[in-house]
Amino acid sequence: MVEFWTSLPLFVQMLIKGLAVIGVIFPIAGASSMAERKVAAWIQNRPGPNRAIPFWFRWVPVIGPFLQRLGIFHLMSDGLKMLFKEDPLPGHVNKVYFILAPIVAVTLAFTTVAVVPFGAYLNRGGQVVPLMLANVDVGILAVFAVASLGVYALILAGWSANSKYPFLGSIRASAQLISYELSLTISVLPVFLWINIPGGDGTLSLARVVEFQSRAGFWGGLWFVFLMPVSALVFLVALFAETNRLPFDMAEGEPDLVGGFHTEYGAFKWALFFVAEYSHMLVGSAVFTLLFLGGWNPLPWISLAQFAGWLGLEGSPILVGTISIVIFLGKVLGVIFLFMWVRWTVPRFRYDQIMKLGWSGLLPLVIGNLIVYALAIALIQK
């Protein structure tokens, strides 16, 4: 199987990898929107979507009613509706940018996925090899760089719509994203100071961060969320702001801005913005898991290699790879659940509160945190 894969031309390999990303992200994004509605219902103590079912599916025992109560068919009919309803193109918009904006949003959101490792397997020598699509050594920098371009989708959408509410939404979005990008970037610096031990070659790779959370000993096996709680907290808050999730979704702000940047959008173009938002959430949660929650290690102080050893699976890389992907996805979905939980717990901020929190709350906190950790790491690793 490996021989067959390497015998394919490079172009075909890349095409298959790219299609695999789209094939995995699109359903997860859709399922997240479903989960969003179910979690919302659960938190508000109501059943949520549980009615739609094709009549012939009702005859399937157990599974039929179960899927119906899960609301799977609402998700499917939503998706089909988005695909088949008329795609409006208002007369007053700047057509090129109006069409370009959702394409930019989705393209950039999917590009970030390529550089995030999502699992690992053990090779013949017992070493942990990360699974990722594009192995670039700049790791986290590539994620931040491509994610920072995502603001153009909102700016273009708001500006090209040529009416005042989308415009206000996009202005808010750009100011907010630029403000929180600083805290986001600075909050991960202690992690990379810690993993770049003196004498080693410098790295920004996300797989190396996980490697450092799976070493032996008390300090080696400790996840970074316990080692650097302030960094983790600030990263998470900044992530909420960067992905435009409540309580930070000023770009949409239904009560005051109708729909914000996507007021003039409908049908599939509108849906693409939400696929992009959910895949940003997915990538953001994945990066948070890699940086602070031990990546594909099942529990603190228990690394993947140890776990595979207990199960007696060292010899089968495909099984270990599958287990690591399941563990990793489980953690990522846990973080996404946290996103939804916060959405129904904390009310939306006012715009001045967001700016105040970003510039005079998080930024000084995270700079102070960096200085403290830089001093401590310099003393420990001397």
Partner: protein, 169 residues
């Protein structure tokens, strides 16, 4: 393969850079600048300089051009309402252009470029960049840092209305 990508990215960079100057609409201009930067990042990737490529995207494409667009949209400038240039401006522009052309020409004709093959030039690691920045090029980095600090303080002073000016009103 690499040659095709080189011409593609070079064409993108130069073409969109020309459009930045030629465009009447400022928003189009800013977006062409963005495209030009993306092309430049592509050229860096072709040279295996991933760090430079992504830093360029992060700083210039991700933040600086976004701020440009932000300001352009806030000011809401109308295209085509442009004053004719003053003679002094024209003279300065001509002089600057002539200097640039001379500089490029002298670089092309007089400089001896060491054309090393790909095998001889190692890809610089992250650590190599950092070491250079903190040893050989420490002074330029510090000077640029002070310049930026000065500019930032200037903006703070200019945008903040002073107390005396408030009282005078």
């Amino acid at each position: 393969m690499a040659a095709i990508f080189f011409y593609l990215f070079a064409g993108l960079t130069l073409g969109s850079a020309a459009l930045v100057v030629a465009n009447r609409n400022t928003v189009n201009g800013a977006l062409c600048l963005l495209l030009s930067l993306v092309g430049l990042a592509g050229l860096f990737v072709l040279l295996d300089a991933y760090l430079l490529a992504f830093v360029l995207l992060l700083v210039y494409a991700g933040a600086v051009v976004a701020l440009f667009l932000f300001i352009i949209m806030l000011l809401d400038t109308q295209p085509a309402a442009r004053k004719p240039f003053k003679p002094l401006t024209l003279a300065a522009a001509g002089l600057g252009g002539a200097l640039l052309v001379m500089g490029v020409l002298s670089f092309l004709t007089r400089a001896r470029l060491a054309l090393a093959g790909p095998a001889e030039t190692a890809v610089p690691s992250l650590k190599a960049y950092a070491e250079r920045l903190f040893t050989t090029y420490l002074l330029p980095v510090q000077v640029v840092g002070f310049l930026l600090l000065g500019a930032m303080l200037g903006v703070v002073v200019l945008s903040k209305k002073l107390d005396s000016a408030e009282k005078a009103r």
